[in-house]
């Protein structure tokens, strides 16, 4: 079994078997992370460039660790400003870096489809580390890994994604991946932050947390961004916290404990209360650890099949 594409652009359209292959492969890399010497040789001699056009701490470090633990040579290209504002196009930036003979590109960029675009202008394997509001496939995979680790299977698991669904690449990758694996996915957030016709992606829509909390096993809580309030999509952070903030009090109404996830970074006591984030039912730090294993699996599967 191999992946059908030589890139990882998104979980949309990937087959169940492919997703399972990545998750299964990650299990053995997860085990490597617990060894005293956390390095294995499969990408020895390969060069990976992390092309980050948007600021990111944990995703970039997670990828870099994964690359180094697979013995790849790693180059980081980070710029807060977009390439366009610097006068160089994304195409030129990518082609220039590729001209230095690199094998794989990990890209984070504000524009949806930028990873797809990159596959048309460079020959290297492309891994999407977040393309605007489109997808963040390795985040989706590490969330699935974490849930599978905890629950044994994703089939029938009831997961609700809470928050700004419209602008969330994490939400999209979770929806695509989890629905393919047979989970029951719902979304909950203000009507202005739920994108049009999202039901067609196979999810149920809720606007009241107390309506969904008794019905789910997992709440995946998204970061709320203040810019959305400025563009008129919700009235205030205070109101958001009162009605969509996930708190211990609200989840205590559930018949059994609910597992709490968050892709980070957390706005403590805005979308998620601090006590809940640090509680025994939170798997937020496991998500971070598993992220390295998932990224190792993806890099390994793509980097060793050429």
């Amino acid at each position: 079994m191999k992946l059908t594409s030589r890139h990882l652009l998104g979980l949309d359209g990937m087959a169940k078997e492919e997703l399972a292959l990545i998750l299964d492969t990650a299990v053995s890399f997860r085990e490597v992370l617990d060894r005293p010497i956390k390095k294995v040789p499969p990408l020895q001699g390969k060069t990976v460039v992390n092309l980050f056009f948007e600021s990111s701490t944990r995703t970039r470090i997670s990828f870099e660790l994964a690359e180094r633990r697979l013995s790849a040579d790693v180059v980081n290209f980070t710029t807060a400003a977009s390439s366009v504002s610097k006068g160089e196009t994304l195409k030129d930036t990518a082609r220039n870096i590729e001209a230095m003979k690199i094998d794989m590109v990990v890209i984070r960029h504000a524009a949806p489809g930028s990873a797809h675009f990159l596959t048309r202008v460079v020959d290297a394997n492309v891994i999407n580390a977040g393309d605007g509001t489109h997808e963040h496939p390795t985040q989706g995979l590490l969330d699935m890994y974490t849930l599978r680790e905890k629950f044994g299977t994703l089939e029938g698991l009831r997961v609700c994604i809470v928050g700004d669904i419209s602008h969330s690449r994490v939400a999209r990758s979770n929806i695509f991946g989890l629905t393919t694996m047979g989970a029951k996915v719902s979304v909950c957030g203000p009507a202005t932050l739920i994108p049009k016709d999202i039901e067609q992606l196979g999810v149920k829509v809720y606007h009241r947390l107390d309506g969904i909390i008794p019905e789910v096993d997992v709440l995946n809580v998204l970061r709320i961004q203040l810019e959305r309030q400025k563009s008129g999509l919700f009235p205030s952070l205070r109101e958001y916290h009162r009605f969509f903030g996930v708190t211990k009090e609200k989840v205590s109404k559930a018949p059994k404990p609910i597992t709490i996830m968050h892709p980070g970074p957390i706005n403590r006591d805005v979308e998620l209360s601090a006590d809940l984030a640090d509680s025994e039912h939170s798997v937020i730090l496991q998500q971070v650890t598993n992220g390295v294993a998932i990224r190792m699996a993806v890099l390994y599967l793509l980097g060793t099949t050429n």
Partner: protein, 427 residues
């Protein structure tokens, strides 16, 4: 020069003629039309058996980019593209730099059209409705009409202010020329770059809601009811509900007309899924249901005109992230092929109806002289081969730009030549 068009099917909606005839043209003038004409000496004979002779086509919505953006297109390359696509006339939109909001620019564009490509393609400027296309003050409409403008539009931008739109409709009504609205409620579209709906949601792309188009048309219809002498034309209509507003306004007897582009009756938002920026245009590609509605609107006559919104951009401008790419595709060289393939071959329109929408109707609504295909008249003709199967190759376009989502499409039917102003161009 003497030319004998042999055995073509003459389809002329103006005279109602539809028959196989021979047509002799001498120095650009139709000398004789008869069942069978024998070629005399020095006559160039063209075998048109199985082909169609139609009144010259006009594309009333193109962007020729000159002056100001000659790296994308020039009046010359645009006319060359039009001629290759089977058009003997184009109307060019005023979003040039400077904008066509002043008689000197209008005259420049109109005259340049006569100087390029042997003058085979007539270039009629659509002038800006407001100064600098800013939507604030009316352009000098009377002077612009004198300089050759055949309509007014701020195309690319909507005329947003209801007060300015009202005054534009009133003022232009004195000259019988239409105000052409790019119907978009801009406060709702902002950074949108594709149709809002399930596909944009899947792709995480900022959406352009269909209601942004519908609201603007609904508002304009109300304004038109108040200024009934004006003529209002909706550019590139793209949604089912937008069309319904126009249909109702027509039933009410208001002076409203509209056009559709070939891409809006052929392809859908599904095409955006690979993030190819040649699928980015405004209005955006819509849904299957909207495409079906466009075909229905063409059939029932709600849609008067087919126009391309030919919008050239260079490869470098288009080979960027989807959200930063400019809107628009080139259309002149695929339009007739798409019309014959999608509309005539699939029996949405008869060939007569198609010719009305590509020639008779646009000329009428722009108050351009009718084309008469009869003895003694100047020949203004488009020749069609409805059975010719061909593959679109953007690399071979005459346009300076190649930004088309139709590269590689197999089409059935093509324009094979034009005759106008005493000039002949055959494929």
């Amino acid at each position: 020069m003497k030319l004998l068009l042999k055995g073509g099917r003459l389809v002329d909606p103006v005279s109602g003629r539809d028959e196989v005839v021979d047509i002799q043209i001498v120095d650009g003038t139709i000398e004789r039309i008869a069942a069978a004409i024998t070629a005399s000496g020095g006559v160039k004979e063209i075998d048109l058996r199985g082909k169609i002779v139609a009144p010259g086509f006009i594309d009333m919505h193109v962007h020729l980019r000159e002056p100001g953006y000659e790296h994308k297109e020039t009046i010359e390359s645009g006319c060359s593209s039009a001629a290759a696509g089977g058009f003997t006339a184009v109307c060019c939109m005023p979003n040039t730099n400077p904008a066509i909001d002043d008689e000197s620019v209008a005259r420049y564009v109109h005259e340049k059209g006569k100087a390029v490509c042997d003058g085979i393609v007539d270039v009629f400027p659509i002038a800006a409705a407001t100064k600098g296309r800013k939507g604030e003050e009316l352009s000098p409409m009377a002077e612009l009409v004198q300089a050759g403008a055949v309509g007014f539009s701020d195309d690319g931008a909507p005329i947003s202010s209801p007060e300015i739109m009202r005054r534009a409709l009133e003022y232009s009504s004195m000259y019988g020329v239409p105000v052409i609205q790019h119907a978009e409620e801009a406060s709702m579209t902002r950074d949108g770059c594709m149709n809002e709906g399930a596909m944009a949601t899947r792709l995480g792309m900022p959406g352009i809601p269909p209601i942004a188009e519908e609201l603007m048309i609904a508002r304009d219809v109300i304004l038109l009811r108040y200024t009934p002498k004006a003529r209002y034309h909706v550019a590139h209509v793209s949604t089912r509900n937008a069309l319904d507003h126009i249909r109702k306004a027509k039933l009410e007897g208001l002076n409203v007309t509209c056009e559709v582009t070939p891409h809006h009756f052929t392809i859908t938002e599904e095409m955006v899924s690979g993030f190819d920026t040649n699928t980015k245009m405004n209005p955006p590609l819509r849904t299957k249901d909207d495409v079906a509605a466009m075909k229905q609107g063409l059939q029932d006559g709600t849609i008067d005109v087919i126009a391309t919104d030919h919008a050239p951009h260079t490869i470098d401008e288009k080979e960027v992230e989807y959200t930063t790419a400019p809107f628009g595709i080139v259309g002149l060289e695929t339009a007739v092929g798409l019309c014959l393939t999608e509309l005539v071959d699939k029996k949405v329109l008869t060939i007569v109806q198609l010719i009305q929408k590509l020639s008779t109707n646009p000329r009428r609504l722009l108050s351009l002289p009718e084309i008469h295909i009869k003895e003694g008249e100047m020949a203004n003709l488009t020749l069609l081969d409805p059975g010719l199967e061909w593959t679109v190759k953007t690399a071979e376009f005459h346009s300076k730009s190649k930004n088309s989502p139709f590269d590689g499409f197999r089409l059935k039917g093509r324009a094979t030549g034009i005759i106008n102003n005493g000039k002949v161009l055959l494929a």
